[in-house]
Structures are given as structure tokens and as C-alpha cells.
Symmetry: C2
Subunit: 210 residues, 2 copies
């Protein structure tokens, strides 16, 4: 059964290459899983969309009888079936899940708080409060990542998909300059052919008129 | 091997009953797992703490040879071994993981953004921007939860631990008034003996001088 990934029919220029269906495309590319893309309107979100995803977000994955949302949950789901995404061995799997959750609950929220204040709300006071919180987290990651090729389990996992996707977001708005160790970790992972294929496919998708 | 949960040695009054070790205590109580508590200083966090938990957070769980952090990851870890926390059947487990991740990545961040702006930063402008984002999410949860006893898999799971712990946080700062459906969902779950024991144990822990 071919996997079906739902994403938006359109996003503004600045978001292209950063929409979260990328994380799922990337995992599929790593595991050699064929997938199809379906779209749902972003400018007028439909009742059908909210019925499938209560927050009106994407991605949504359909795999035969099973449908689920939240990019982190979809990565866990695919990881259960594919060793290349998440190791079977208990300690390595536990580390993978720990860093997957840390990316989603301890790193991404401080990144988003800064992005929302600075870029969406253009609230300079809030951005000035959010920025040191973001940098505290980035600084705390340095000793973890320095000299490591991967964040968990000494090998590529779904935790690296999330961590590097978040780090390249930080890079995109110019806040990664002081962290060569984070860039040294992310760059080889983002050079993987699976990421490049996934990224190119998302850019191509959003280049087409909705 | 008895599980060991690390939490802080002290927190201010307003945080007592809301520290995240509660989620792990609760899961242990549900599964009948004995646990010990160890503490780490909160007022001057130690290098030993940062070596175990790069962000200086708690809880940390030790289970023999395995040690991990992030309350969501610890719940997943315990859930793998205990059906009462997470069902084995694929579709039910997938739903559980989906809502666990949704709680951590789509609900808790909007709650925390509001809390940080309103209560920590006392930044009224940022709080006024964060508040409707929080209420959008709460409103979106109503049709999901209305008439359901549990958020996933038609039974109690670790996803309910996270969802109801976050909802009672919202209640504690007075923003849950307009959502009787959310309260109707959370109240019976928070009346479970396992939650009550865990909550009482946390209050007792923080009542002792550090």
C-alpha cells in the first residue's frame, strides 16, 4: 500500500522548503518507501481538513487503514517498521525517542516563540525576551553534539531528522552564527541524498500553481 | 530494579503539584511500579545535572542501565512495557502516540507561551497576542473530546496523562472557564487514584525543606 502524505496546496515563498511534510518525505526517502502527495487548501481550510486534523495542520499520513497526524508521531510510526529510521535495540531506541521528544518539546517551542515574536508579530520587546531563551538552548546543545555525528544511538535516526530540520530553520533566520558545532553536526546530515530528494520534491510541489 | 526518578530539591509554592515528575509518578502508580525519588538542586543547578540533562530540566528516569529524560519520552518508554499505559495493538498505539506528541508539540507550547508572557515576563502586549492562540487550540480540542472519556484508543493511556496534566495547568491560571467539555473530560481522569497518589506524593516531597 503506497503511503499518502497530505500537505497544503500552497504556502508563501518564505515557507517553501520548510513545511513539515518535508520530515515525512525525508523519512520515506531514507527507508525507500514510495509515497503520494495529496493536498488540502491552506487559505480557506476546509471542514474536511479539521475533521482529519483538529488544529488544521499538516502533515497527515495515511497508510491503508491507519491515518495519523503530527510529524513527530508519524516519524515514530514509520520508525517502528524501519530499522534505518529507529533502531530496535532498547537502549538505542530509547535514546532516539528521547531526542525526538526533546526536539519537539524543548527545542522547537523556543525556536517558534522567537519566530512568532520577531517575524509574525513583529513585537520587538517579546523578541528580545525570546531570543536569549533560544540561545540558552542552542548553547546547551553544543556540548551534547560537539564531536558527534548523530544526536542519538551513534547512528542516523528520526531524531536527527527533527534536530537538523529545526537547526536549519534557525540558520534560515540568521541565529546560528555562533554555533559552528551545531552547523558541523547538521551539514553532513542535510547533505544526505534522502534529504536532498525530499527537499527538492517539496520545492517542486509548491512551485506549481495551487 | 526499582525505578529512580530525579526531580528538583525545591520549587516555589505556585509550582508545587505542577512539576513534571508528577507525570512519571502518575504512570508508575497506574502500572504498579515502585519508584524512588532523588533530587538535584534547582537554585544552583550542578554540572552533574547538566551532564545528565543538557537543559537542566527534570524529570530524569533511571531504570537499571537505562537513563533518559523528557517526560514525554519517559512515558513512551514505560508505555512500551506496560499495556495499562499504552496499548499493544497497532492502531490504538498509533493513536496514543499521536496524541502524546500533539500534547507536547501543539498544545503545551501555546500554553507555555501564554504563561511565559503573562506570568513570567508580565508582558501584557505579548500575553494579549498569546491568549487567542491558546484559546484557538482549546476550542479546536472541544469537538475531539466532547463525549469521549479518553483522548485516544477509547481507553486510558499515557496520552491522557499529558493532556489532562496540561489542561489542569490551564485551569490553574483561570483560562478553562469556557470549555466545560474539556473539564468534563479531565475531571474523571484526574480523579483516578493513581493521579491522586502521585499528586499527594509530589506535594509532600516539596513540603519538606530542601
Amino acid at each position: 500500500m503506497t503511503l499518502v502524505i497530505t500537505t497544503y496546496d500552497w504556502v508563501p515563498d518564505f515557507a517553501r522548503g520548510f513545511v513539515r511534510d518535508l520530515r515525512i518525505r525525508w523519512a520515506c526517502e531514507e527507508a525507500g518507501l514510495p509515497y503520494q502527495i495529496e493536498t488540502t487548501p491552506v487559505r480557506e481550510k476546509s471542514p474536511q481538513h479539521f475533521a482529519r486534523q483538529p488544529f488544521g495542520q499538516i502533515p497527515i499520513l495515511r497508510d491503508g487503514e491507519i491515518e495519523l497526524f503530527e510529524s513527530g508521531a508519524i516519524l515514530l510510526y514509520l520508525g517502528e517498521d524501519h530499522d534505518i529510521l529507529m533502531p530496535r535495540e532498547r537502549k538505542a531506541r530509547t535514546q532516539t525517542q528521547q531526542w525526538l521528544i526533546a526536539a519537539l518539546n524543548s527545542l522547537e517551542p523556543v525556536v517558534m516563540s522567537y519566530v512568532v515574536a520577531k517575524l509574525f508579530d513583529k513585537d520587538e520587546n517579546a523578541a528580545n525576551l525570546a531570543r536569549p531563551r533560544l540561545h540558552d538552548r542552542l548553547k546547551q546543545l553544543v556540548p551534547v553534539i560537539e564531536g558527534r555525528d548523530f544526536i542519538a544511538a551513534d547512528r542516523f535516526t528520526i531524531a536527527d531528522i527533527l534536530m537538523t530540520d529545526i537547526i536549519r530553520g534557525v540558520e534560515s533566520f540568521g541565529e546560528l552564527g555562533d554555533y559552528p558545532a551545531l552547523r558541523a553536526y547538521a551539514e553532513p546530515i542535510l547533505a544526505r541524498p534522502a534529504f536532498r530528494r525530499a527537499h527538492a520534491a517539496q520545492l517542486e510541489h509548491f512551485a506549481e500553481p495551487a
